[in-house]
């Protein structure tokens, strides 16, 4: 449910982005007659029976796959462990590079695939592992096997990992005023504008496109935050990839708050978003 609502808070497209998306959809042949240009971010949610080829793209003359069709938008994979493991591993490279190169006998094509990867899953086959309300009926082996379908390298590329607990009926009835999608979208747009202004000279649009060199330039930490990150690194056993990703997330949190510097709270929040693997994938 949350994932389906993500498009409602995505930032508006710039003209260049809209053109790129339209081009890809035109190549794929999915552009409708009466839509000359796509002006909203795509949201793709293929069923878990999808093959590796249709995810990455392919065919005699390679056509763009789901990851390219989700360019500048969202690729949502519901029930992640149900996907074929081989299919999921296809995502590794594209998630890192934002590009996918497909070689076939008739040619080699490179499609852009700068998408936001969103996935959801249960903690175990029965769905109650860790629940306070109901006892989980899975054996430890079954849980390990279920979790094992998501490989470490793939997990490492997911910046924000959150565990949600079931919503109680009372809460569904709650009519307290909460922040609407419209309001959240305004915040997102503002943060995007900050990023666009900041990266004017770098030919990138957002924090997610930062390269290691640029991270050093734009994600400067004060002494305190640096020491926290260092301790977290040693104690939590984070990878080098996680380092860059935590900084990018912290930069984004700071942007959302309109803070020019990355503060201690931003860094700790970003670290807090990477704790799922510790809980479920290690002892």
């Amino acid at each position: 449910m949350i994932a389906k609502r993500i498009p409602s808070i995505l930032p508006d497209l710039s003209f260049e982005e809209a053109l790129e998306i339209t081009k890809i959809h035109s190549i794929a042949g999915t552009l409708k007659q009466d839509v000359p240009i796509i002006i909203s971010r795509p949201f793709r949610s293929p069923h878990h029976t999808i093959s590796a080829t249709s995810l990455a793209g392919g065919g005699r003359i390679p056509k763009p796959g789901e990851i390219s069709l989700a360019h500048y938008g969202v690729l949502f994979l519901d029930e992640l462990p149900e996907f074929n493991q081989h299919t999921l591993e296809v995502l590794r490279g594209p998630l890192e590079d934002g590009l996918v190169t497909i070689s076939r006998i008739n040619g080699t094509l490179t499609y852009p695939c700068n998408f936001m990867f969103v996935a959801s899953m249960n903690p175990c086959p029965c769905g109650y592992y860790g629940s306070q309300e109901k006892e989980c009926s899975c054996s430890m082996q079954a849980i390990t096997k279920y979790m094992g379908k998501i490989s470490g390298p793939l997990l490492d590329r997911i910046d924000i990992q959150i565990e949600v607990t079931p919503v109680k009926y009372k809460k569904l009835e709650n009519d307290k005023a909460e922040e609407t999608s419209e309001q959240i979208k305004q915040r997102v747009n503002k943060a995007r504008q900050i990023q666009r202004d900041r990266y004017k000279e770098e030919k990138i649009y957002s924090n997610s496109n930062l390269t290691p060199n640029l991270i050093e330039k734009y994600c400067k930490l004060n002494k305190e935050s640096k020491s926290i990150l260092e301790i977290a690194f040693n104690k939590l056993g984070l990878s080098a990839r996680a380092y860059g990703r935590i900084l990018k997330v912290a930069r984004t949190i700071a942007d959302l708050e309109g803070s020019e510097q990355i503060q201690k709270a931003h860094i700790t929040e970003a670290i807090g978003y990477r704790n799922l693997d510790k809980k479920y994938w290690k002892n």
């Binding site: 903690p123 006892e135 430890m140 607990t165 926290i228 104690k235 709270a265 700790t268 929040e269 807090g272």
Partner: protein, 290 residues
């Protein structure tokens, strides 16, 4: 690897006293441990957070006090008992239900090596090539209890391996200690059952130590203490939040409702406390004290 025959002088005396001692023992590592004061810590493979926590606490404290920890190298409570006994340079013995060339479960091979690196001991009554087999595991339980002064049962379902070990321990005249469990938790059924039948109820490692001091058994202390209080000094600003987190799991939302502090401040505190190892994030998105 060494093979000890029943007739050998170094064959552990304690094992000779049990009903059907193994004819041969295959031993790797520090053999001296076999004759030292030891406590077996056993329990469920499918341990709850509560069980894991208790195993951790008892294992590290008992080994700190000089007891050797005996267990069965299975997943769950066994692994935790082995791991935390070594944390403070304590000693541990693992009893296998298969041969040395077929360590089971495979994922504990790393732990197996770690035990040997830390001057621990691994024994089995089966020749190296013996594969794992269902019947062997209950059988090796008699060695686990036989090698120890007493058996600490952390949590056990009805009729589980841990329960069998406790039963054998009673037969062998060993002391049985049980940690009380919640009555609505299946994992603690047999533990509570044994308490009902007269096993020693223990709530801290000191209970076991006191028990043996009364029995007149001398134990050499292993001094190397590290206090959580010291760490908290650097984290004073998070004290209020730390105080809220106890043995029962609590979520960030609940902390927010109680304290009414901004969620950013709470998540910062939780992250810092977790990094320092004072609290732990458990499945269900809740926190408990470590």
């Amino acid at each position: 690897m060494k093979i000890i025959k029943k007739a050998d002088k170094i064959y552990p005396e304690k094992l000779l006293k049990i009903q059907n001692p193994p004819d041969e023992l295959y031993v790797e590592g520090n053999m001296d441990l076999l004759s030292q004061n030891s406590i077996a810590i056993v329990g469920s493979r499918l341990a709850t957070e509560y069980g894991k926590k208790c195993a951790k606490l008892f294992s590290s404290q008992l080994s700190e006090q000089g007891f050797t920890i005996v267990s069965g190298l299975a997943v769950g409570i066994d692994s935790i008992a082995h791991t935390y006994s070594m944390e403070k340079k304590g000693k541990t013995i693992a009893v296998l239900g298969s041969g040395f060339n077929n360590v089971y479960p495979e994922e504990n091979y790393y732990l197996y090596k770690k035990i040997l690196e830390n001057d621990g001991c691994i024994i089995t009554e089966y020749p190296p090539e013996t594969p794992k087999s269902k019947g062997n595991f209950p059988k090796r339980n008699r060695i686990i209890s036989g090698l120890s002064l007493g058996v600490l049962l952390v949590e056990a379902r009805y009729g589980s391996g841990g329960a069998i070990t406790a039963k054998l321990a009673i037969k062998q005249g060993k002391d049985v200690f049980c940690i009380p469990n919640r009555i609505d938790e299946k994992t603690g059924y047999n533990t509570n059952l044994l308490i009902k039948q007269g096993a020693n109820l223990v709530t801290c490692a000191q209970d076991i130590i006191d028990f043996y001091i009364e029995e007149g058994i001398e134990i050499q202390q292993n001094v190397n203490k590290k206090e959580a209080e010291k760490q908290l000094q650097n984290l004073k600003q998070y004290q209020t939040i730390y105080n809220l987190i106890g043995q029962l799991p609590i979520s960030a939302n609940e902390i927010f409702r109680i304290t009414n502090k901004p969620i950013t401040e709470i998540s910062e505190a939780l992250c810092m406390l977790e990094i320092e190892g004072l609290i732990k994030n458990i499945p269900g998105n809740k926190y408990i004290r470590n």
